[in-house]
């Protein structure tokens, strides 16, 4: 069948925005035949720029199969229709025009990206990230696509969540079953006086949304146990930030994360001192390499004399957020294999070398990512005191 030179408004060669999206979901490519300067100002995410002058040749070279499903769009649908007709004449059977082009897209209130691949607002919001060569536009897009799980929305989780949200980590998971209490406000900056009594995960969501609407919060109002650990930790996380400071949970998290191959950024604080490390499965040691078993309750240090300088979790949790971002971006030297110790009173930082133990019950010789799930152990809680104050 040969189509005429006159533009023919035929159902079979033109679709609306919804139709174009449905085709894309089915695997259709999407080509934008406008000029590069128009593309810079605004384009639809996932479209490929091939300007009109070389559009037919470019598309034929890129998709030699004349049965390839392709959407073609421009500003309002005129240039793209010409391209579609030429391709049909050349024997392409599944090429369609996107009626109304990007103007119709915008009229429907759909988001557009700039040349950077970010929206105009994101370009502005993340300009100080994009300016760093190690992050750049690609790194920012990676952060926006990342999933980071925070265990605990308390002292360590507060600065970690706030900075990760501000940094544009696209999905932040929060696991906590507590409600906000007044005694939390000395250090837990996610929460506020007027949210006392509110679930911490809900209070945190309010805080994170207020900082960055790009962020999706997945809240788990629960305490991690052997029964739910696979489900919660197995929901596709790129990095886990452990701010629980609760020994039984440390072991649960370790055993699941090693099995799933997820790096854990570990932080702990006590009075004036904090520690941070990264447990990167099989690349460095895990928690059981350091402590194969928890101490028996009679030898576990008492927790009754707890207490912490309010600013300390701000420092340690921020270090954890930094490590999480480095892991997502794949930049720098992480704390895998090193333990950073911060002493606020002495104002000193020490770093210890941690090594993988070939006899480790979780990650030693003979273990690998995947395979049969290890049996999880709910060690008894050692402290009468709430573990996630």
């Amino acid at each position: 069948m040969i189509r005429g030179i006159m533009p023919v408004m035929d159902d079979s060669i033109e679709v609306d925005i919804a139709g174009a999206l449905a085709r894309r979901d089915q695997g259709a490519a999407w080509v934008d035949v406008r000029e590069p300067d128009e593309w810079q100002v605004a384009h639809i995410d996932g479209t490929e720029l091939i300007p009109l002058a070389g559009a037919v040749e470019g598309i034929v070279a890129r998709w030699p199969d004349p049965a390839a499903p392709i959407n073609v769009s421009c500003a309002s649908g005129v240039r793209s229709m010409r391209t579609v007709e030429a391709l049909r004449a050349a024997g392409y059977t599944d090429v369609v025009n996107v009626g109304g082009g990007i103007k119709a897209w915008i009229a429907e209130g759909r988001p557009v990206l700039r040349g950077s691949g970010l929206t105009a607002q994101q370009d502005e919001r993340y300009s100080r990230h994009v300016a760093i060569p190690e992050v750049g536009v690609d790194g920012q897009r990676r952060l926006l696509g990342a999933r980071v799980l925070l265990l605990g929305a308390g002292g360590l989780g507060s600065p970690a969540a706030l900075y990760l949200a501000a940094a544009g980590v696209g999905t932040i998971g929060l696991v906590d079953d507590d409600v906000v209490e007044r005694s939390n406000l000395q250090r837990q900056l996610l929460h506020t006086e007027d949210r006392i009594g509110v679930a911490k995960v809900d209070s945190a969501e309010v805080a994170l949304r207020g900082i960055n609407p790009d962020v999706r919060v997945e809240a788990f109002r629960t305490r991690l146990t052997a029964d739910n650990a696979w489900e919660v930790l197995g929901a596709g996380w790129d990095v886990i930030v452990d701010g629980t400071d609760n020994l039984p949970t440390r072991y649960l998290v370790n055993d699941v994360a090693v099995h799933l191959g997820i790096p854990v950024v570990h932080g702990s604080i006590y009075r004036f001192e904090g520690q941070v490390t990264v447990f990167e499965p099989f690349a460095g040691p895990c928690y059981r390499c350091l402590y194969p078993e928890p101490p028996p309750p009679e030898l576990a240090p008492s927790c009754a004399e707890g207490g912490v300088l309010g600013v300390l979790p701000g420092i340690v949790g921020s270090l954890q957020a930094t490590e999480a971002i480095k892991l997502v971006l794949g930049i720098g030297e992480t704390l895998a294999g090193r333990l950073l110790m911060y002493d606020a009173l002495a104002a000193t930082v020490d770093t210890l070398r941690l090594r993988r133990d070939p006899a480790c019950p979780a990650c030693g010789d003979g273990h690998e990512v995947g395979g049969e799930r290890p049996e999880l152990i709910d060690y008894e809680a050692f402290c009468a005191m709430p573990a996630r104050a």
């Binding site: 609760n246 928890p294 101490p295 030898l299 008492s302 927790c303 912490v308 070398r353 090594r355």
Partner: protein, 92 residues
């Protein structure tokens, strides 16, 4: 002579001292001096068979002594010894 850095959770056993000096050519010798001054530490750190308890890690000059010679690990004058038990509590 080595300087032991006592972790916060064990400081009640060293009269709240953060740093304790003790002479010795090996970690084991220096620990004996430490236990003489602060006897309650021994049970927390040393197992009934005389080895380091598994939930207490000791680092001499930033290296885990289990990857060196354990209690036989030699000390230099001015060696720093960091004691790090698995932490049970804290306030996150």
């Amino acid at each position: 002579m080595a300087t032991f850095r006592i972790p916060p959770v064990l400081r009640p056993l060293t009269d709240d001292q953060v740093k304790v000096e003790s002479p010795g050519a090996t970690l084991g010798e220096a620990l004996e001096g430490l236990f003489e001054a602060h006897p309650a530490l021994r049970e927390r750190m040393i197992d009934t068979d005389g080895t380091l308890r598994r939930f207490v890690n000791v680092y001499v000059d930033e290296e885990d002594v289990r990857t060196r010679d354990g209690l036989e690990t030699p000390l230099e004058s001015g060696s720093s010894v960091i004691v790090l038990p698995a932490m049970a509590g804290g306030a996150a």
